[in-house]
Amino acid sequence: MIRTLAGVAMLSGLLVVLTYQWTLPRITENKRLAVQRAVFKVIPGITAHAAFRLDADGLTRVNEADATGTLVYAGYDQAGQLKGMAAEAAARGYQDVIRILYGYSPSCECITGITILQSTETPGLGDKIGTDPKFLANFTALDARLNTGRTALQHAIVTVKHGKKTEPWQIDAISGATISSKAIGKMLNDSTQTLLPRLAGRTDQLRRQP
């Protein structure tokens, strides 16, 4: 019995690993294309974008096809002026990790849009985070101002119960999809709290289209 079970388990492990290895390059390429499309969606009114890696030395221009690490996408309008930045955020949702891309505008210091990159939330309930127009309206100008010391957000981004939103840094949850809505609030807060203070002194580098 043990031999059969071990044999079946090993065979299945082998098959899964082989498929994983075989499909990995295609999946990464697909994900890159999806991010590219998403950048145009979350920063309104841009015609071009460039990817930068943010590390201890600051921002470096990278080729997004083979870049790793924390990436920031800068979006430019027709005149080559910086319109906004976009970055990925992720947190655990109800089913699995939800990955989103959000746009940030330095002029209003607010989040200008989000789009779902990956989610397996419950169809009809949790998956509304990507489609419900009322929920997405939270992110047309979500307050993400930094405090005076530029070390953290002035007001942490939080998800509040449906219909209880009073402040511009609050997210109005979808009723029936509280866990998924909270995950979005958490990932936006985590990502902006770490990313924006690090970006604060460095936006000049992004100002003009490279």
Binding site: M1, G7, V8, T19, R26, S119, T120, P123
Partner: protein
């Protein structure tokens, strides 16, 4: 190794057609209702789901049938689930490699193929008792029947709910789509209508047979 409980039956057209018509998993056995209702809001989703399920069904039936004499009876269900889950994971990766949009459209239902009772049912009721070729033909029929049923629902729902078929507009500009058809309630309405049609066909056939008997009987 124990011999097969039954002598090998010849593979006939019925081995295949059972799944498509007489034992259609959706319209006759009412199995696997979860994906049937959930992902049939467009023809493309229905086809993708049908193909994915058929692939898992074929591969797991083949493997179960191949190992049928080696799998101990006490742990057979666990073994079947491991085998099915393997192929579902493979399908999951392959769909991600083909198109992320399709992957997102099918959502959690790809992973849920693991618990689709058509597949476990085939493994338990057929593949574990028959030779590999017979199991393959039978599960191909079941897969075809399942895909056909998904297609029946998907085409009606997309046509009425969106006015399109595979994304191509069928009706003119003035068509007002019945949005409810692509929403969850539409799935129940359309499934109900198809079941009604099949029940009516069956009843009519039975009545015709009865009538025939009476005529021949006199």
């Amino acid at each position: 190794m124990a011999a097969d409980p039954k002598p090998a039956q010849p593979i006939t057209m019925d081995t295949f057609l059972d799944g498509v018509w007489r034992e259609n998993p959706v319209f006759v056995m009412l199995l696997g209702m979860c994906p049937v209702l959930a992902v049939t809001n467009s023809v493309a989703n229905a086809i993708a789901m049908g193909l994915a399920t058929t692939f898992v069904l074929l591969c797991s039936s083949a493997l179960v049938s191949l190992l049928r004499n080696a799998i101990p009876k006490q742990v057979r269900i666990a073994t079947y689930i491991v085998i099915i889950a393997t192929f579902v994971t493979i399908v999951d990766y392959v769909i991600q490699a083909i198109s992320l949009d399709l992957y997102n459209a099918l959502g959690a239902f790809i992973q849920l193929i693991v618990v689709n009772c058509i597949i476990l049912g085939r493994a338990e009721a057929y593949a574990s008792r028959h030779r590999m070729t017979a199991s393959l033909v039978n599960s191909l029929g079941m897969g075809a029947g399942f895909s056909l049923a998904l297609l029946c629902l998907g085409s009606v729902r997309e046509l009425l709910g969106n006015g399109t078929l595979l994304g191509f507009a069928v009706f003119g500009e003035r068509f007002q789509p019945w949005s409810i058809m692509i929403l969850p309630p539409g799935g129940f309405f359309v499934l109900g209508a198809w079941l009604l049609l099949f029940a009516w066909l069956k009843e009519r056939k039975a009545r015709a047979a009865q009538k025939g008997e009476r005529i021949h009987g006199t």
